[in-house]
């Protein structure tokens, strides 16, 4: 059943915007994975749940501030408030997780923290499912509808907001990493924890900060996700978590620009990339194949660059 595509410019621009939107969310969440990996060399499987908790906290805040009755400039304030609440919720959750489930495993066999993280992930997911009776919560429908457009190019306000705020958050994070003392400490620990501690960096504190920064990004992503898709549930963290992790690896895990690039590459591959493949004769890959495309892309890129797009190449060894 091939779809007859007329392939208008507006079709491609729409798909491109869709890809950027999804990619922004992937990128924001991927940052948490990549930073934690950078300093601890562990896959923080519970990061998707941190994102989920942020989304629920933001929901709670929005409802407390009036929910669907909000209008006018109050909306902007409420969203800002929700983002702050979500960030704090994600950050506190993440700090507690780090303290209880990861720090005791510093120096343990490499895969122990991975299983601990999976445990945390299961725990949080089912805790929220239990508390919500597995029902979805619906974000208040307060964001102004409508779109900006010029000719065939069109972008809805919410998409614009989502992309712009993600980019702003990432720019902020990048500035923190590159320009501040804290950022230097993080980079030093990522490079070599032993050396960093010899240089007077408090490794434990730095690692906590890494979790804080990652969780803050995930909290923002949670609110943006809620505002955009409006449906949130206890099990929502898992898939974006896996995708974001894929994005982080795609970009070169441990690399911050890599995570951002990976997120966008993945987002675009799932939308624009898939439609481009559909242009080939006889190909009809529906949405159900999107993950196949995402993972095939991952394998392809890793075959050519075994350590991701942005990873540094080490030229000497042995």
């Amino acid at each position: 059943m091939p779809v007859a595509l007329t392939l208008s410019v507006s079709f491609w621009s729409d798909q491109f915007v869709n890809g950027l939107t999804t990619g922004s969310l992937y990128a924001l969440i991927a940052l948490g994975y990549t930073m934690v990996y950078g300093v601890l060399k562990m896959i923080n499987f519970a990061h998707g749940e941190v994102f989920m908790l942020g989304s629920f906290a933001g929901y709670g805040a929005l409802v407390a501030m009036g929910g669907n009755d909000l209008s006018g400039p109050a909306v902007a304030l409420a969203i800002l408030g929700a983002i702050i609440v979500a960030m704090s919720a994600s950050v506190s959750a993440s700090v507690v997780i780090e303290r209880l489930a990861y720090r005791p495993l510093r120096g343990a066999p490499r895969l122990a923290p991975l299983i601990s993280a999976i445990g945390v992930s299961i725990f949080l997911q089912y805790l929220v499912l239990e508390q919500t009776s597995a029902r979805a919560k619906f974000y208040p429908d307060i964001f102004p509808r409508g779109a900006l457009g010029a000719g065939p190019f069109e972008i809805t306000y919410i998409q614009l907001f989502l992309i712009a705020s993600s980019v702003a958050m990432m720019a902020l994070l990048y500035a923190i990493i590159q320009r501040t003392r804290l950022g230097r400490a993080i980079r030093a620990v990522a490079e070599n924890p032993t050396n960093a501690s010899l240089m007077g960096v408090d490794v434990n504190r730095t690692i906590v900060f890494v979790f804080i920064l990652g969780a803050a990004m995930a909290g923002v992503a949670g609110v943006l996700y809620g505002l955009f898709f409006q449906t949130i549930r206890g099990s929502m963290g898992f898939i974006p978590g896996i995708k974001a992790f894929t994005a982080a690896v795609l970009g070169g895990i441990g690399s911050i620009p890599g995570a951002m690039a990976g997120g966008y590459v993945l987002g675009l591959a799932e939308t624009v990339g898939r439609e481009l493949l559909n242009e080939l004769p006889g190909v009809n890959l529906g949405n159900q194949w999107r993950d196949v495309i995402a993972f095939t892309l991952l394998v392809t890129i890793l075959i050519f660059r075994p350590t991701g797009i942005f990873a540094q190449r080490s030229t000497t060894r042995a």
Binding site: R313, T315, T316, R317, A318
Partner: protein
């Protein structure tokens, strides 16, 4: 085992525009103990990595007793007779001393099928060759199955081979002075013993050319002297050619019959120790004469 002759012809190695080795030409006759010296970053370890197949040289050729070996994968080169140790000791830390040596004997323990994937073929195939490699694949699979079946069924042949390998491993350990430590974990050995174990493991591959990367690094003069004696004994008893990278000039000058000096990836001198010690280019490269004449660590 008979000692091998090594010929390096115009070898060059570049990393993304950076020249690590240029136009290295070298001949090490069979049975010689040959020194490789030069300041840090001169390209000594890079040369070892090229010889052992870790790096593919960007130009030039390497011959081991007449057979060209550059471009072959590391395990094939090992099979042809080159073994090495590492500058920063790289033992299999969580395996026992005995197991470390048994891994070294890997290619000499019969298990069934032959090692088809290790056919002596360059690793950089043309597109046509890529398909040919795939054609060899079923044979490799059959060999794999035979090997697995052998390991599970453990027929007498495999048992005998294992027992022989263990006996030989014990002999090798005794030869380097590690008798009685067979069942210790490698990571629990003292530093000097770890160096010895690396050498025993390298000898287990039955090399005709042994590459030692700073075998006395971090040792005190007594230990270093013992190591020198060991190196001589290895050359005599195991009939190998030996190339060693060394910073302790006393060791180099004492044990080597000929020395090659590298600087910035180029060969700047070659000759017997006495000649090298007087060579003005070498002295200049080492920023003065003290290091060469005074022994001890030459590197800045």
């Amino acid at each position: 085992m008979t000692a091998a002759e090594l010929v390096v012809d115009g070898l060059g190695m570049k990393f993304e525009g950076l020249t690590a080795l240029a136009e290295i030409t070298l001949r090490v006759p069979p049975g010689e103990i040959h020194g490789l010296i030069g300041p840090n970053g001169a390209g000594k370890t890079t040369l070892f990595n090229c010889l052992t197949g870790f790096y593919r040289p960007t130009s030039g050729a390497i011959y081991l007793t007449g057979q060209r070996i550059d471009g072959l994968p590391p395990h094939v080169i090992t099979g042809l007779g080159i073994a090495r140790t590492f500058q920063n000791i790289r033992l299999f830390a969580n395996m026992t001393v005995l197991e470390n040596v048994l891994v070294g004997q890997h290619q000499h323990i019969a298990v069934g099928g032959t090692d088809i994937l290790s056919t002596r073929r360059p690793v950089y195939p043309t597109p046509v060759e890529r398909i040919l490699i795939l054609r060899g694949f079923p044979r490799a699979a059959v060999n794999g199955i035979i090997e697995i079946a052998g390991a599970i069924a453990r027929p007498p042949r495999v048992r005998t081979a294992e027992a022989a390998a263990v006996a030989r491993a014990r002999d090798l350990l005794a030869a380097v002075g590690l008798r009685g430590r067979e069942n210790d974990l490698a990571r629990n050995l003292p530093y000097g013993d770890q160096r010895r174990l690396e050498i025993a493991r390298a000898l287990a591959t039955r090399p005709s050319l042994l590459l030692l990367d700073e075998p006395t690094a971090g040792m005190n003069p007594q230990e270093a002297a013992a190591m020198v004696a060991l190196i001589r004994r290895i050359r005599d008893e195991f009939e190998t050619t030996i190339i060693l990278i060394e910073h302790q000039m006393r060791v180099v000058m004492g044990v080597c019959e000929n020395i090659t000096v590298l600087d910035y990836g180029r060969k700047i001198a070659e000759g017997p120790p006495a000649a090298i010690q007087r060579n003005p280019t070498v002295i200049e490269a080492y920023l003065g004469t003290r290091a060469i004449q005074g022994g001890g660590h030459a590197a800045p």
